[in-house]
């Protein structure tokens, strides 16, 4: 119940289109650049802040009260905070939770995160929704709106930027043992009781909870840096390879999907978020930037194979273009001849369409976002690989999609019905 009432230090948020928001500081002093994005999760600010996928982004939470329950070590999703800035309506003056170890403002200061409160975050969210994600700067030192807007406009955007290298580990390590450079601590949460599968996870900004979930599914996980070659990975003799989430523009990390192109077909692959985008790129699919992305814990995703809807946790600004993979295989798409990209029609028909890629054969659309009918998951039919755009590990968010970790091990066991057998 520490009282953390901050002194009223003014802060400013400026967007590249000239929009300015006034508020007061509630984190570290300074200036930070990033793409402004909003997250609609009502709880889970600590997981959001420590998700490496937010690198290069200033995050605003739509939930007006933030910081209420403080922060604690067990809810860390990585070794630190990766969001470049944080904007809220009201930072809690008091921390109330039996697990709280520190107040959020203290935590933000400790991690050097520039943050501000007192902002009409709904106006900010609506602005981003209408105008799209854009460059922004948050500052407690330069309070001149014109100057800040100019800085925002001159800052590097996310497109074409490789932020993976900044967030990933530089040396491989095994989950459950001390990280080599002290970066990834031993997670006290979940360790595999009797590991049955050896998994190499390529770190592009992996969230701890992904590894916890893999461990829970009896996987012995070795996390390797993103630049690890296919040969080095195969040298671990893994039963499967996992591709993680990560920040930035998927098109900027060509080395990841080059590695992947060599792995697919040789070893079963499961990808989440950026990993999904990498698998898609590897099969010859193109990606595009969503106007303002999906960030929150309430996104409905339909599994076209089971017909079930999962409420999912999401955090992505880019999306894959299913139709760009190749021609529709009508006979494997229940005889329908909708455009491959007419996702609403496939959902309506309850059919998971199949297209043919040049490199890896048939690719099936497995998951669709029901809000905007965008691609949320695919699987390869001729080689063992699948991926989802959203976050089955949640943290924060609902646990509806946890079955995908069991689906991965079912795939490792060679089961064809892996995506429907474990729901």
């Amino acid at each position: 119940m520490a009282d953390t009432t901050p002194a009223h230090v003014p802060a400013l948020l400026a967007l590249e289109d000239g929009t300015v928001f006034h508020g007061t500081a509630c984190g570290a002093a300074g200036e930070a650049y990033g793409e402004i994005v909003f997250n609609t999760s009502m709880a889970g600010y600590q997981e959001v802040l420590t998700d490496p996928s937010y690198a290069g982004q200033i995050v605003t939470m739509t939930m007006p009260h933030i910081g209420n329950y403080g922060v604690n070590e067990a809810d860390m999703e990585s070794r630190g905070v990766f969001a470049s800035g944080f904007v809220v309506r009201e930072m809690s003056v008091l921390t109330s939770n039996w697990r709280a170890e520190e107040s959020l403002p203290e935590f933000l200061v400790r991690h050097g995160v520039v943050a501000m409160e007192g902002v009409d975050t709904r106006r900010l969210t609506r602005h981003v929704r209408e105008r799209g994600a854009m460059r922004a700067v948050i500052s407690t030192v330069d309070l001149d709106p014109d100057s800040l807007v100019a800085k925002a406009a001159a800052s590097p955007g996310l497109v074409g930027r490789d932020l993976v290298a900044e967030v990933a580990v530089s040396e491989p390590f095994r989950w459950g043992s001390e990280g080599p450079d002290g970066t990834l601590p031993v997670d006290t949460g979940i360790l595999p009781v009797s590991p049955r599968y050896r998994i190499v996870a390529i770190d592009s900004g992996i969230k701890y909870n992904i590894v916890r979930r893999l461990a829970e599914a009896s996987c012995d996980v070795t996390v390797v840096p993103p630049t690890t070659s296919a040969r080095e990975i195969l040298a671990h003799e893994p039963d499967g390879v996992f591709l993680a989430n990560g920040p930035g523009d998927p098109a900027a990390v060509d080395y990841l999907y080059s590695t992947l192109q060599e792995l697919v077909g040789k070893v079963p692959v499961f990808g989440i978020c950026l990993g999904h985008q990498m698998l898609s790129l590897a099969v010859g699919c193109s990606t595009y930037k969503l106007k303002y992305g999906h960030r929150g814990g309430n996104q409905p995703v339909k599994n076209l194979l089971s017909g079930r809807v999962e409420i999912t946790s999401q955090n992505h600004g880019f999306c894959v273009d299913f139709g760009s993979i190749g021609p529709l295989v009508t006979e494997e798409s229940a005889g329908h001849s909708h455009e491959a990209n007419d996702l609403a029609a496939w959902v309506e028909a309850g059919v998971a369409p199949v297209v043919r890629s040049e490199r890896f054969g048939r690719v099936q659309l497995t998951h669709v976002n029901l809000n905007d009918m965008t691609v949320e998951g695919i699987r390869l039919l001729d080689v063992p690989a699948f991926s989802v755009q959203y976050h089955p590990e949640a943290a924060p968010g609902p646990h509806d999609s946890r079955y995908l970790f069991d689906a991965f091990t079912a795939l490792l066991d060679g089961r064809d019905d892996y995506l429907t057998a474990t729901g």
Partner: protein
């Protein structure tokens, strides 16, 4: 999986009268469900005994039965209508219990009716605490340790294991009725014996106390594909120990990490699956130990509930509507989100504001009752407020309560007990004020948490709001407040009235200053998705932010001010009128705007009006909306007293008032000027006078003569109006209960003893008057009209008298310049007609009259307000032979207020009403009684004990009872009279005469009917003990001779069993063509 085509006709059971624990939230749910099922092409048959509901409007269902919700009557409906399915989950506990009984007795199977929305086993597993606890064990969830008691001995054995305190919960009772917390053996015995009597299966759960734990609720929906979503999480401000209906609640949950929240989410969904709720909504309650996070499941309701209505209003996600769609086969992903129109209903709302609900209690109506809040619900209504932050929403909710306060104290009305810490530690209706005051007195958050167990996070928000209040107070007057402080005050929920009090200004000055400073409110949308998608449904709340979202429009707008939280005297009837007003004004081309703060109602459904503002009904909040919307007219006469009291201030501020001008309303309320009007029209009224001192009161009393109706304008000790029969009593009453002074005069009216009271509802357009209905009361004048039963058409008045009443009504409506509804109360004594009161506004009886006659009076009135003429509306002839009698009867909450006397008087005490329809008056009256008590005694022993003035009148009643085969017992005085009349009677002792006495006989189940009219005015008299015992043991209890007469005739109707109680649908009423619907 689309809509089921194998069912065509669906029976929906409503929840019956408004009672504590089951209010108009079920009208909201039921109306939504009926509407959506009909839109989908299903034929809907409805049973609901409550005439004040929108649900029972003849347009809402294909067949509407305003009949008792009992297995007997619903069976009659089933036999007549042959529905394919029964949807039982929208009518609260009453509807569910009735459906369970029909299912268990085999009636449903016999008639081939499928239970949809919930299976019988699921209902039982959810409701039966033993089965529920076992089910929780199977899915690895914790419940409080407990045991079942079937006797006092059992209870004591269980407590020996658990230790005190324990929570006792009788099985299968409404709103936790009969439950309580026992701290010692005496309380345990008291609660358990009462609980065993109340529980239909004589079972009481004795549970480990989780007092002081954090309490949460989750609203879950599930479809037949096993898709499940959490619509809303709710965190209770009050810790465990206070019934959730009596708790201040907050949405969304504020103090859970995502990890903890998701555990609760998983548990909620697992519970729904395990209990077997295949489709629909459920509510799951959890308690969490604040020290270590241990989570226990408290209960689940496998149906829509008070909380689901709240969650629907709080998020914009219409649970009941979707529950109905799920029940007929749709899945969540097949239903679209009404608010965004583009995204599916299969998602979880994200909200970017804070919602606070505060219950509205009515302890002032029940002197003698304990206002401590326990596990047994006592509130009669609730207000909800939306703000961006908790402090803002809390302040708004506090000023929405219609209790004369302008917010969380600091309004000049703060009064605190000397036992401050004790009051702080005890949950009562006053505790929020004590918490705020504690911070003014420099208590710390830890101090207050220690005394209240309210989570420190909430307390810190209040502490901060109080600090801002302190800044305002320290500003040195209004001029010392700058824009930043003014904005901060608003953002922390302070009202203009509070700022005025703190700065020594008046409200108007604060408003002017605030607008000068440029501190203007903004309106934001409730959009289910935290602005992620554009919202197309205009549902707004006020806050002080940077961006305003009110959509532009160029249509003329009509704004309807709602009725605020339900309380005694102002219930669902006024909401009904507001909703009809909105419908009618939309039909004539207005864009309608609804303003209200009651989450239970149909008026606050975003479907009801074109635009909805969920805001307090204060001058400040209404004016802010007027400034934003610039309506062509504002309707103040549909929502009862709440909007009416704003009429003047709004008019003075230049707001166009639709309908009857405020001047006419004043005229009717000003005794002096109104008397002049009556004199001018040659209409009689009871002699009256006003006294400003004690001596003057005695003087006036002597002039007018006793008995007198005494109405102090300022009340002490919670006592309002009384009837004084003697000077001695008047003096005592004046000394004890009333404060009289030149500022607070006492009003004295001659009381017309034994007069027949009559109510008239009419509409006037300035040129002509349409008499909606003439209602003859069953109880004599002196009983508040809201507490009396009444009948359309009059059953005992002569034609001439009725004609005179109608003439007077016309003359008064025209003379007062009414443009809309008017209600007039008459008394008839010795063939002479007196006017008692005129209210130029919607009355409580408008929905009843509309149902009884088939003419929607509120809609007619709204059209008149919009300039329509009655002559052009093609209304059916007034006073035509309806072919049936309709009786409205009031429903009393005495069972909830042990200690309060159950005698009726001039102060209204009922919470709701039922209606009975039949070809003759006794049968209609019988139905109204059956709708409340579910049974009328048709034999056994009747106890009769009446006061002196009733002795002669009771003889024929007793004679009739004897003919019906009742044994009669009486106390000495009454028995002498009955014996003299040749009626066999057994004498029984009064309570103070020794034992065994009448109360012993009642406790032993030896008495089935009690007729006991009050003796004079002593409280805690014999009569009091008898009435209290009757309530406690569920014995039919009558306190007036006219009611006794009606009940005995009704018993006769029930006993005769010759089809007089057959069911009849409103659609079968003979309504002539041209009925404007």
């Amino acid at each position: 999986m689309p809509r089921r085509d194998d069912i065509k006709k669906i029976l929906v059971i409503g929840s019956g009268p408004i009672i504590i624990g089951q209010a108009c939230e079920f009208d909201y749910s039921g109306a939504q469900a009926c509407k959506v099922l009909r839109e989908d092409g299903f034929e809907v048959v409805l049973v609901n005994s409550n005439p004040a509901t929108i649900m029972t409007d003849p347009e809402m269902a294909d067949r509407t039965y305003v009949e008792p919700i009992t297995p007997e009557f619903v069976t009659k409906v089933i036999e007549k209508e042959r529905p394919d399915a029964l949807l039982p989950t929208l009518g609260g506990q009453t509807g569910l219990n009735c459906a369970v009984s029909l299912a268990e007795s085999g009636i449903l199977e016999e008639w081939g009716v499928e239970l949809i929305g919930a299976r019988l086993e699921a209902i039982k597993k959810g409701e039966d605490r033993k089965l529920f606890a076992e089910a929780m064990g199977r899915i690895g969830l914790d419940v409080p340790r407990s045991g079942y008691a079937y006797s006092l001995r059992d209870a004591e054995d269980i407590v020996a294991q658990l230790g005190f305190p324990v929570v006792a919960r009788p099985s299968f009772t409404l709103g936790g009725a009969g439950g309580g917390i026992a701290y010692n053996i005496e309380e345990l015995r008291d609660i358990v014996s009462h609980g065993l009597a109340l529980s239909p299966i004589a079972e009481v759960l004795i549970e480990e106390s989780v007092l002081g734990w954090k309490e949460y609720e989750m609203e879950v929906m599930r479809d037949r594909n096993d898709n499940a979503v959490i619509v809303c999480s709710i965190e209770n401000f009050d810790a465990m120990g206070v019934h959730t209906g009596d708790s201040i609640t907050v949405a969304p949950a504020q103090t859970l990490t995502d990890r903890e929240y998701q555990v609760m989410r998983d548990a909620s969904i697992a519970i729904m699956r395990e209990i077997g709720v295949e489709t629909g909504g459920s509510n799951v309650q959890f308690a969490i130990d604040p020290a270590n996070g241990r989570m226990v499941v408290i209960e689940m309701n496998p149906r829509v509930s008070r909380s689901s209505a709240l969650a629907s209003k709080a998020t914009g996600f219409p649970i009941a509507k979707f529950a109905a769609k799920l029940a007929v086969g749709y899945t969540l992903d097949e239903i679209s989100n009404d608010i965004t129109k583009e995204t599916p209903a299969c998602f979880e709302p994200s909200i970017d504001y804070t919602v606070v609900k505060i219950p509205r209690w009515a302890f002032e109506k029940f002197p003698g009752t304990d206002p401590t809040l326990t596990t047994r619900m006592k509130s009669v209504g609730e207000a909800m407020a939306i703000g961006r932050t908790f402090a803002e929403a809390f302040g708004k909710a506090m000023r929405s309560l219609e209790n004369g306060r302008a917010g969380l104290g600091a309004d000049g009305k703060d009064r605190f007990s000397e036992k401050f810490d004790a009051m702080l530690a005890t949950p009562t209706d006053q505790r929020a004020y004590y918490i705020a005051e504690a911070f003014r007195r420099d208590y710390t958050v830890a101090d207050v948490h220690g005394l209240t167990h309210v989570d420190p996070w909430f307390l810190a928000q209040i502490e901060r709001a109080v600090a801002v209040e302190g800044e305002v107070a320290a500003a040195g007057g209004l001029d010392g407040i700058d824009a930043a402080l003014m904005r901060r005050a608003k953002q922390h929920g302070l009202s203009d009235v509070q700022v005025a009090h703190l700065t020594g200004a008046v409200e108007a000055e604060v408003r002017a200053r605030r607008l000068d400073l440029g501190v203007r409110p903004t309106f934001k949308s409730v959009d289910t998705c935290a602005a992620e998608f554009a919202a197309s449904t205009p549902y707004y709340y006020k806050t002080y932010e940077e961006e305003d979202e009110v959509a532009a429009s160029d249509r003329p707008k009509a704004m309807i001010l709602g009725a605020g939280p339900n309380r005694i005297g102002q219930g669902i009837e006024f909401d009904y009128c507001c909703v009809h007003g909105a419908y009618a004004l939309a039909e004539v081309g207005y864009e309608t705007i609804m303003v209200n703060c009651n989450p239970e109602t149909v008026s606050t459904d975003y479907d009801t009006s074109d635009r909805l503002y969920f805001e307090p009904l204060t001058f400040e909040d209404v004016m802010d909306i007027v400034d934003a919307e610039r309506p062509a007219g504002v309707v103040v006469t549909f929502g009862g007293q709440t909007p009416l009291k704003l009429a003047h201030a709004l008019e003075d501020a230049g707001v166009p008032i639709m309908g009857t001008p405020p001047e006419a309303i004043d005229l009717a309320e000003d005794r002096q000027r109104f008397a002049e009007v009556l004199d001018r029209l040659g209409i009689a009224y009871p002699a009256a006078g006003t006294a400003h001192t004690h001596d003057e009161a005695v003087e006036v009393a002597r002039r007018i003569g006793f008995p007198l109706l005494v109405r102090p304008s300022y009340v002490l000790g919670g006592r309002g109006m009384v009837i004084a029969y003697s000077e001695e009593y008047l003096e005592r009453y004046m000394a004890e209960a009333a404060s009289v002074s030149p500022e607070h005069p006492v009003l004295l009216d001659r009381f017309l003893e034994g007069a027949i009271e009559v109510d008239v509802d009419a509409v006037c357009d300035g040129e002509s008057v349409y008499i909606g209905g003439v209602m003859e009361h069953i109880e004599e004048a002196g009983i508040h009209s809201g507490d009396s039963a009444c009948c359309i058409p009059p059953f005992s008045l002569g034609e001439e008298t009725v004609e005179r009443i109608v003439e007077h009504a016309r003359a008064l409506a025209l003379e007062l310049g009414v443009r809309g509804l008017i209600n007039i109360q008459f008394a008839v004594k010795d063939q002479k007609v007196y006017v008692l009161e005129v209210n130029p506004r919607a009355s409580r009886t408008v929905p009843f009259v509309s149902k009884a006659t088939g003419v929607p009076l509120a809609k007619v009135a709204a059209r008149v307000m919009a300039g329509g003429k009655l002559a052009e509306m093609d209304l059916p002839p007034e006073g035509r032979d309806l072919g049936h009698y309709s009786v409205k009867e009031a429903v009393m909450p005495f069972g909830r207020f042990p200690g309060a006397d159950s005698v009726l008087g001039p102060e209204m005490k009922s919470t709701g009403e039922v209606m009975g329809v039949a070809a003759d008056f006794p049968a209609a009256y019988a139905k109204s009684q059956l709708a409340i008590d579910y049974s009328l005694p048709t034999g056994g022993t009747a106890f009769i004990s009446v006061c002196e003035r009733d002795k002669r009148a009771i003889v024929p009643v007793a004679k009739h009872l004897a003919t019906l085969g009742f044994d009669i017992v009486s106390t000495r005085g009454t028995s002498r009279v009955l014996k003299a009349a040749g009626i066999p009677v057994t004498e029984v002792l009064k309570v103070h005469e020794g034992r065994p006495n009448i109360v012993d006989a009642m406790k032993n189940g030896e008495v089935q009917l009690v007729i006991n009219t009050p003796f004079g005015q002593e409280t805690r008299s014999d009569g009091y003990h008898i009435r209290a015992a009757a309530i406690r043991h569920g014995i039919t209890n009558i306190t007036t001779v006219p009611a006794a007469n009606a009940v005995v005739n009704a018993i006769d109707a029930v006993a005769s069993g010759d089809g007089r109680l057959d069911v009849i649908a409103l659609q079968d009423f003979d309504v002539p063509a041209g009925e404007p619907s």
